[in-house]
Amino acid sequence: MTVDLILFLILALVAVATAAGMLFSRNAVYSALFLVLNFASIAVFYLLLGAPFIAMAQITVYAGAIMVLFLFVIMLLGAEQLAPIKVLPWQRPLAIGLAAVLVAETAYLLILRAKPAADIIPPAETVNTLGELQRLGMALFNQYLLPFEVTSILLLVAMVGAIVLTKREKGERE
């Protein structure tokens, strides 16, 4: 067992545990915090995979910006205590059934694809010849130029939409 593998197993455990904690916590703030931990452990996965940029972006964007806003809203609304959920009678069996299907599917895929995933994950050498950042920049502004630009349109529109839905016209304020 290499150090990486041990690290991975520990982190995987943390990631799963925090994800479960997020789901089962009865307090919205704790849920959010568990999710932050989950994001952090996933960021370390990226580090282990040799992708520090994505790891840092993950922390900055998800843990640092989005989850802070979540917490902000939860606290501002004072909505941290979740009401007990009414469980529909067929919900639990169905969920368990679907989960079993998912597990079976994953197991099947794992066994089916016994051959190492060498063709999927690019070998480490190609990543390191040119700095990861430069590669990312090249890809973003050459091959993925148009999607990149479209993202900005999407964000602009989303912003306009958010303002439309929340801003009251003058004199409309109660």
Binding site: I120, P147, V150, L154, G161, V164, L165
Partner: protein, 483 residues
Amino acid sequence: MNPTTFAAILPEVLLLVLGILILVVEPFWKEKDRRNTGWLTFGGLLAILVVSLLAGRPGEPTSVFGGTIRFDWLGFFFKMLFIFAAAMTSLFMMDVEKLGRRGESYLLLLASTLGMNLMASASDLVMLYLAIETTSIPLYVLSGFIVDDEKSTESGFKYLLFGAMTSAVMLYGFSLLFGFTGTTNLYEIAAAVAGAQVSTVTALGVIALVLVGIGFKVSLVPFHFWAPDTYEGAPTPVAGFLSTASKAAGFAVLVRLFFIAFAKNGLAPDWTTGLAALATLTMTLGNLVAMTQTNIKRLLAYSSIAHAGYVMIGVVAFSNLGVTSVVFYLIAYILTNLAAFGIVAVFSRVAGSDKISDYAGLSRRSPWLAMAMLVAFLSLAGMPPFGGFVAKVFVFAAAVKSDLVWLAVVGVINSILGVYYYLTVLKVVYLYRMEGEAEESHPIPLTRPYGIALVVLSLGVLLIGTLFAPWFSASGAAALNLF
């Protein structure tokens, strides 16, 4: 940037320019002049249509922007359709209260159209997903645009929740596809799938996941729950746009994705069988539930679900003729359904109601509107000489040619079911009278934008139904790009 590259995204660039123009110009107009943004949008969209037809026509299919965009007739044809639908919708939107005088609503419409354009031409999963989101997010906002109307808010919210959920599932599918093939380009994925790199079972799993997202967009049956509620609450022109252009965009993605990426021999029979089952379900459920509706927007919603089923027949046929019939059906359907929703918008603006029973006496209150309704509904029902008839004939013919006679039979039976409820509405319009009132004292005035749009659409429906050869050959040219 070489000219082909630029021509490939010419309509999108122009749409963006128009949108920004509206965003900049609108605040400088006085409150009472704001309705003019509608005319600006309409004029701009027409100009874009003309310019694109003149300068942006594709030649041989080429991949541009690093393979993220496919520049071919299929995409181009759909793009023109979307721009036309947006132009008509902008006319319908102008006189809707709290919507027509806000520049933002037109900007959102344009942005959504831009997204649809990209959906029609995207040949890369990244681009495709972004395009779908660019289409959906403005539409979520437009559905919930009238903030102080609970129905509208509910509509927007439902649409958002369903949309977010299904697009997440679809994204799983995309990520699996990328994981198994190592590329996001549709054509390279096709090669990988054909090269037996992906087993049939995994491919079908991926297809199922992807289908959730697309099925939501085109309102296929297990994913249709949002449609009636959203159409009912959304501002009527927006509902019209949702049920036509947005749906057509979904089909554009569907054919490109399935016919290119999953066209591998031996794989296709599996998914066509599944889709055939879905098509049957969709048609039958849509038509049966539509019969019991008392609200015209909900009726049109279920009818549009049923129509998604008919279009699906063309997809299932999995042939050149099939795609041709899909494209042709969508042309006819967009014209017809836009007209139907436009009429509903006109009526509810005056009468303040969407109940079918309130349409009583419409033929006397406004003969021309009733006439337009007759055209639209008969075309929806699939009666000659209107567009809907020819479209259905082609779709069923495609099914028969691909040895799917049973599916064609199901389609025909469903059309007969459809005739029933379309004619029920027309019965109310033409045969019933308003109770205890003189219809002449309750006229339904048509404002100019409505007039223009309805005339254009009604004539279009007639034109498609009679002189269908040029449209058919154009659809055929578009379909050829997939094979």
